[in-house]
Symmetry: C2
Subunit: 420 residues, 2 copies
C-alpha cells in the first residue's frame, strides 16, 4: 500500500470516530497529499471504501499519477447521485431496504426506522479554512440535505505528523538552502541592494531544484522565497505574520527585500525557504560585513540561548505553548522583551511553526496551543530580535521530533556569520 | 483627489444603484486597489462617506500609505457597533428619529415606518469569490441581521478598466520582460534544462524589479513566473487553465518548466510574466535553436494570423466572445482545430484574458462573455497550437484598448525567433 492510500485510510479512521460519512477534499495541496496528483476537481474519500477523484483537468495526468479511482468530473449537478451510486450505504437511500424482511407491525416499525434514516442529514467534511464562499455555495446547491463539517483541522492534524518520505524531502530542501546560503556568503558585498542578493539566492535555489513556490495556507498570505533584509529596512513592520517584515519593492507587495543598499556593520537577516519535491524548509541566519555593535551581538547570543533552551525540551510530550512561554521568560530575564519577535505593537506572538507542504503548518509554538509534541512533527523555531532603525538579528532552525528528542534538519553553520 | 479615493467613489456610485449599504473589502489585492496599502484587516467603504480600514497589522505601515481612515481592528465582536457609530444612517438605528416631529395618529404611522426600517435587513457586500467559508462564518456571527451580497463581480468589473497610472506600470513590466527575453535569446543553448533557462530568466526579471509574485485570483491557481518549455514537455497537459502545461519539477507542482533538456529543432515556448509596481504583463514568444519543421512553422504563422485578425477587431464595442469565435473559425479553416489552445480533451476554451494586479482579470475572450470592449481594458491574447510529443508554438501580446482601437503594450519582436 503506498503512502497516499495509507493517508486515505488514516483519514477514514478519524472520520468514523467523528461520524463523518465522507470527505470532499477541495484544496490543491490536500488533493496532492491524499492522491499523489494535483488536478482541478474534488476528491471524495468515503468513511469506508476506495476514494475517487473527480477530475476536470487533466484526466490524462491524473490517471498517470493518482493513487485512487479517477472519474471525469462532468456536470456538478449529478455529482451527488454519482457518489450515492458508488457508495450506496452513505446516503441511506435504499427505499424499503429495512422493510423487506418484516411483516405487519414489525414492518411498520422498520418502515419508520427507514424514514428516520432517510431524513437524517448526511455529514460530509471539506476544508472550510480555504474554500471560497462562492464555491461552497455551489456545493451546498448540488448536495441538498448534506450537513457540511469543517474538516480542515483533521487534515492539518494529520499532515502535522510526517512520514520518513516527507522528512527526506525536507532534508533535501535543507541541503539546497545551505548551498545557496554559502554561495550568498561568498557573493555578498557592501553597496549591493537587498533585492539583488535575494535574486542571486533565488537563482541558486532554482538551479538546484527549488520549485519556485512557497505555499502558505492562511488567507491573503504570500511568501516570496523568504527575505534578505539589511539594517533598518529589516525592522520595517509589515502585515506578514512573522517576526521580521521588510520594506519590499512597492506598497503592492509590502514585505521581504527592498531597494536598500547593504552596508558594513549592520545585521543582514537571511531568512530562506525553498521547496523540493513539494516540501519546504525554513531557516534564518544573520550575516555581517565587518563588525556588529555589541548590543546587537548580545541580542543574537540571547537568540541562540533561546534556541538551546528550546532544544533541551524538544521531545515527545512537551506542550507546544510551553516552549513559547519558556522563551518569553528567558527573554524577559535578558531584558529584551520589547525587541522579541518584532517591536512594540508589531510583535508577533509565537516562537515557531510546523512546516511541510506549506510553511504555516501545525503545531504552532504559541500561547493557547496545547498540542503535545510527537514523533514525526517538523517545526521551524525562530527566535529573533528587532531594533527599529538598526535591524533584526536572530536564528532559525527546522527540527524533526524523534522518539527520544529531536534531530536538527537544518545543516547550515550557526553563530553570526562575519564576512570581510 | 488621489486615484485610491477616486476608486472608492466609483464603487460608491455602483453601490447606490445596487442598494448596497457598504462594502467590506477582504482580499489583499482589492484592499491595495482601494486603499493604497496592503495590511491584514478589512476596509469598510460605505455607500456614502469616507472609508475606514480596520487594520490588525501593521498600523504603522497603514498610516503611512493609506488613502482612507485607519482604525485598529481590535475585537471583531464590536466591529458592527463601531461601523454603526461611524455611519449611523446605515443601520437605521436611531430609535424614535422618525417619530419626533409627529403626534397622535401620524406619530403612530411614523413609529410603524421606523419599525419597518429597523427590521429591514442591511445589505453589505464582500468578495465571496475569494473569502474562505470559515472567515465568512465569523463575519456572519459578528454582523447579525446583515444580508451579504457577493461583491466580487463589481470589483472585478471596476478593476477591468485601467487608469493611466496602471497602464504605465504595465508598460514598465513589458520593458522588463522584453529585456529578460533578449537576455534569454543570447543565453539559451542546446543541452540546457528547461528549468535552468527559467531560473536564468527569473533572475533577469528580479534584478530589474520583478516583485517575485504572479498573482492569480482563481482558487487553487498558482503561477511560477510563467514557463519555459521545449518540445514534447511543453505539450504535457496540466490542471493549469492555460493553453500550454509543462511537465513541472514534481507532481506536487505539476506545471511550468521541468528537467527536460532543450534540443535543436524543437519549439521553445517562452511564456513570461513579471510584476512591476503591482502590475503584471503576460507575453509569449517561440524560440528555436536551428530550424523548425514546416508543419510547426505553419502553425506558428496561423497563430500570428489569428493575432492580426483579432487586432483588426480590437476596439471599443467589440463583444469579447466574438474575438474567440472569430479565432475558432480561422483555426477551423486552417484545419488546426484539434491543436488550438491545447490538444483534445485538454484544450482550454478561451483566446485571451484581462491582466492587471492579477493575471486572470476581466474581460475573458471566451464563449458566453458578452462584455463589449471599452477604452482602458488591458488584455493578453495568446493563440497557441499544441502538438503532443512535439511541442507548443504560439505568440502572446498584451494590448490596451484605446478610444479608437488598441495600443500594443508588448514590445518584444514577433515571429519565430531563431537562435544559432
Amino acid at each position: 500500500m503506498n503512502v497516499f492510500v495509507q493517508r486515505q485510510h488514516q483519514l477514514q479512521q478519524v472520520m468514523k470516530v467523528k461520524g463523518i460519512s465522507g470527505f470532499l477534499v477541495n484544496h490543491n495541496v490536500d488533493l496532492y497529499y491524499y492522491s499523489g496528483t494535483m488536478q482541478t476537481g474534488y476528491m471524495f474519500i468515503p468513511a469506508a471504501g476506495e476514494a475517487v477523484y473527480f477530475v476536470r483537468r487533466s484526466i490524462t495526468r491524473a490517471e498517470e499519477e493518482a493513487s485512487c479511482i479517477i472519474e471525469p468530473i462532468g456536470s456538478m449537478k449529478t455529482i451527488k447521485d454519482r457518489i450515492a451510486a458508488r457508495y450506496p450505504e452513505l446516503f441511506h437511500k435504499v427505499p424499503g431496504a429495512a422493510v423487506s424482511a418484516a411483516e405487519g407491525r414489525e414492518a411498520q416499525e422498520a418502515q419508520e426506522v427507514q424514514e428516520v434514516l432517510e431524513d437524517q442529514p448526511i455529514k460530509l467534511a471539506t476544508e472550510l479554512d480555504v474554500l471560497p464562499v462562492q464555491q461552497f455555495q455551489r456545493l451546498e446547491a448540488v448536495f441538498p440535505g448534506v450537513v457540511w463539517e469543517d474538516g480542515s483541522q483533521l487534515v492539518r492534524e494529520q499532515r502535522m505528523l510526517k512520514s520518513p518520505d516527507e522528512v527526506a524531502a525536507i532534508r533535501r530542501a535543507a541541503a539546497v538552502v545551505d548551498a545557496a546560503l554559502e554561495a550568498a556568503i561568498r557573493h555578498v558585498h557592501a553597496g549591493m541592494a537587498e533585492f539583488e542578493l535575494m535574486a542571486f539566492i533565488e537563482h541558486q535555489l532554482r538551479i538546484q531544484g527549488h520549485q519556485g513556490l512557497m505555499r502558505m495556507r492562511a488567507y491573503n498570505s504570500e511568501l516570496i522565497t523568504g527575505m534578505v533584509a539589511a539594517g533598518a529596512s529589516a525592522a520595517v513592520p509589515t502585515y506578514f505574520d512573522g517576526p521580521a517584515g521588510g520594506q519590499g519593492l512597492h506598497p503592492s507587495s509590502p514585505q521581504s527585500s527592498g531597494r536598500a543598499l547593504i552596508r558594513r556593520g549592520e545585521p543582514i537577516l537571511v531568512d530562506l525557504g525553498c521547496c523540493i519535491d513539494g516540501y519546504l524548509i525554513d531557516q534564518t541566519r544573520t550575516l555581517v560585513i565587518g563588525e556588529l555593535d555589541q548590543e546587537l551581538q548580545r541580542a543574537y547570543e540571547v537568540a541562540e540561548q533561546v534556541l538551546r533552551a528550546t532544544e533541551a525540551r524538544l521531545q515527545p510530550g512537551t506542550i507546544s505553548e510551553h516552549l513559547y512561554l519558556l522563551a518569553l521568560d528567558q527573554v524577559h530575564e535578558a531584558g529584551l522583551s520589547d525587541h522579541f519577535m518584532g517591536y512594540g505593537a508589531d510583535q508577533v506572538k509565537f516562537l515557531g511553526h510546523g512546516i511541510g507542504l506549506e510553511i504555516d503548518e501545525l503545531p504552532v509554538l504559541a500561547k493557547g496551543f496545547k498540542t503535545p509534541l510527537a514523533p514525526g512533527m517538523v517545526i521551524a523555531i525562530e527566535p529573533k530580535f528587532t531594533y527599529p532603525g538598526r535591524g533584526v538579528v536572530g536564528v532559525e532552525n527546522s527540527y524533526l521530533i524523534t522518539e527520544d528528542g529531536f534531530e536538527k534538519l537544518t545543516i547550515s553553520r550557526e553563530g553570526i556569520i562575519y564576512v570581510k
